[in-house]
Symmetry: C2
């Protein structure tokens, strides 16, 4: 089983949008873990080890993808 870890810091707009990415991941091939770094700072060292520089970030098989999903003004209304 491959691993996919989604690191975030709890922004509700981003979490909602990024749920789309998690839904799109093939669960038959990937074990998906979601880590809220604001609430679980004990995972910070692990995230840094993978090279996570900002959140949200998706780590797939130890490769980091930093995702910039800006919260649009429309979404915040």
């Amino acid at each position: 089983m491959n691993n996919a870890i989604f690191y975030h810091a709890g922004c509700p707009v981003c979490v909602e949008a990024e749920q789309l990415i998690l839904d799109a991941i093939d669960r038959s091939k990937y074990l998906v873990e979601v880590v809220h770094l604001g609430e679980h700072s004990d995972h910070l060292a692990e995230a840094e080890k993978f090279g996570v520089k900002s959140v949200p970030a998706l780590v797939i098989d130890e490769h980091v993808f930093h995702i910039n999903f800006g919260a649009s003004i429309e979404a915040l209304k």
Copy 2:
């Protein structure tokens, strides 16, 4: 069937890394399209319509995710 479109501009290091993302997408739920905007500029208007501001970007069900995967110096050696 849902749609996922991956827009890029051909950087080989990024394409290789991002192949991981494409491999992770559940093909039983998502029809995946890959568009090289450098070679297929006729898709630029479509990408802009989705809100794509930079590449690489992944559009899932019309939601844009801009992905910043920097090419590491190690990968370029």
